[in-house]
């Protein structure tokens, strides 16, 4: 457990130091959502209607694009070798890195969501619900993306490959995330069912992601 915590804290510290990726995801998310009206026009009613979808798409891309270097930096400087030689099972080591990544990338993104809601003309009270769907759904994005990040390192490729591999896998999260958010803002469908499925998806990927990612890393041993 001390090894797990040590890795978690190290990754958070790295993300928050100069050159780390913390806040970069939130920044990307902010810019992406702020650019939507330039594409669809500044009609506030339209923005209210598509607001949750834009927020979710922004969160999806921000989480995945930020995952690109999750294992690559450790691989490039030899840290990944040593991470495999610890007594901590690789599955848990991978999970520690994912949690650190979620805390430094996804959490800031959720925090600024209410501000972005104002720009998309979504009421502040409704924004709380949208933020809640992101809180429940982004762990799924991180832990599914984790698999892609591990595969990308095993294949010695990065960048868009990760998005290509992982984006189709995130479709259920997107569907139920937006459904829950829409239910909270405009109704009339109830909020409960899609939100529960969203939580289930997060919990399932919390278990599945680390195993698949660790298997991918072991497969890539060379």
């Amino acid at each position: 457990m001390t090894a797990f915590l040590a890795l978690l804290l190290r990754d958070m510290r790295l993300a928050m130091r100069v050159g780390g990726g913390a806040l970069m995801g939130a920044l990307f998310y902010f810019i992406m959502v702020a650019m939507t009206p330039f594409a669809v026009g500044p009609d506030l009613n339209l923005l209210t209607r598509i607001g949750p979808a834009m927020l979710w798409l922004g969160a999806l891309l921000a989480s995945l694009l930020a995952l690109d270097r999750l294992f690559a930096t450790d691989h490039d400087d030899g840290s990944l070798d040593l991470l495999m030689m610890g007594a901590l099972p690789l599955e848990l080591a991978v999970a520690a890195k994912a949690i650190a990544h979620w805390l430094t990338t996804a959490l800031p993104l959720i925090v600024i969501t209410p501000v972005l809601g104002l720009m998309l003309n979504v009421e502040l009270s409704a924004m709380g619900w949208v933020a809640l769907t992101l809180l429940a759904g982004t762990p799924a994005l991180t832990f599914i993306g984790l698999i892609g990040a591990a595969l990308a390192v095993a294949l010695r490729r990065g960048g868009l490959l990760l998005a290509v591999l992982v984006l189709p896998l995130t479709i259920p999260v997107l569907i139920f995330g937006v459904a829950a958010a829409n239910a909270a803002i405009v109704g009339p469908a109830p909020f409960g069912p899609p939100f529960t499925v969203l939580c289930a998806l997060s919990l399932a990927s919390l278990v599945l992601g680390p195993f698949a990612a660790a298997a991918a890393l072991r497969q890539g041993l060379e």
Binding site: A3, G78, D81, L82, A87
Partner: protein
């Protein structure tokens, strides 16, 4: 002297290694006991680094058996080994002390054990608070070596350990290796020239074709 490590034995039998579809070596036998050092030599591409990575569990073996007896039966060979490869596993944005502290904790140093002595052993103690980004290649290498001192593991796998080290640092490394063997540890090193080991045994790769 730690007697519990003396009857330790690391042995490989009929080992084979394949990389990218090419057979690097096969039918390789070796054994090292506590206190011994084995130097792996051979031309470039003979598989010296591959053998070390294979022992560390970082490379899948294509055949044969590898095992360690007399140590911790629960742990794999890799978990009882230190691997010092070509890369230093040093994060430039963390301080020297933070880098070492992390690896010490992660690799299983006893809780609360100070890292000061290990930094002292590689003469980096006064740089503990500096970001590792400011270190030279040799200093980064020494920081990497400090890991071997901070966490006690019986097997040291050293790949060209003296590269980037000046002669004073080489002497210090030789001293650390001598102490490690005196306390019952073993060393498997890949090297082209002498690295300061006393009476090492030699394993020459690439002679069987």
């Amino acid at each position: 002297m730690r007697t519990d490590l003396i009857d330790l034995r690391l042995a490989g039998k009929d080992l084979a290694c394949e990389r990218g579809g090419r057979l690097v070596f096969s039918g390789l036998n070796f054994s090292v006991s506590g206190g011994e050092a084995l130097v792996v030599t051979g031309r470039n591409g003979a598989g010296k680094s591959s053998l070390l990575r294979l022992i560390a569990g970082l490379l899948r073996k294509a055949g044969g058996q590898l095992g360690i007896t007399g140590g911790d039966d629960e742990a794999t060979v890799g978990e009882q080994s230190h691997y010092l490869g070509h890369l230093d596993a040093v994060k430039p944005s963390l301080s020297v002390g933070e880098n070492l502290q992390f690896w010490a904790t992660y690799l299983g140093a006893p809780r609360g054990a100070p890292i000061g002595p290990a930094l002292e052993a590689v003469d980096l103690a006064q740089l503990s608070d500096l970001p590792a980004a400011y270190l030279s290649a040799g200093q980064r290498r020494r920081l990497s070596i400090a890991r071997l001192v901070a966490v006690a593991r019986p097997v040291w796998l050293l790949d060209e350990p003296t590269s980037a080290l000046d002669s004073a640092s080489q002497d210090r490394l030789a001293e650390l290796m001598r102490k490690h063997r005196a306390s019952g540890g073993m060393i498997v090193a890949a090297a082209h020239g002498p690295i300061g080991l006393d009476e090492p045994r030699e394993l020459k790769l690439g002679v069987m074709g």
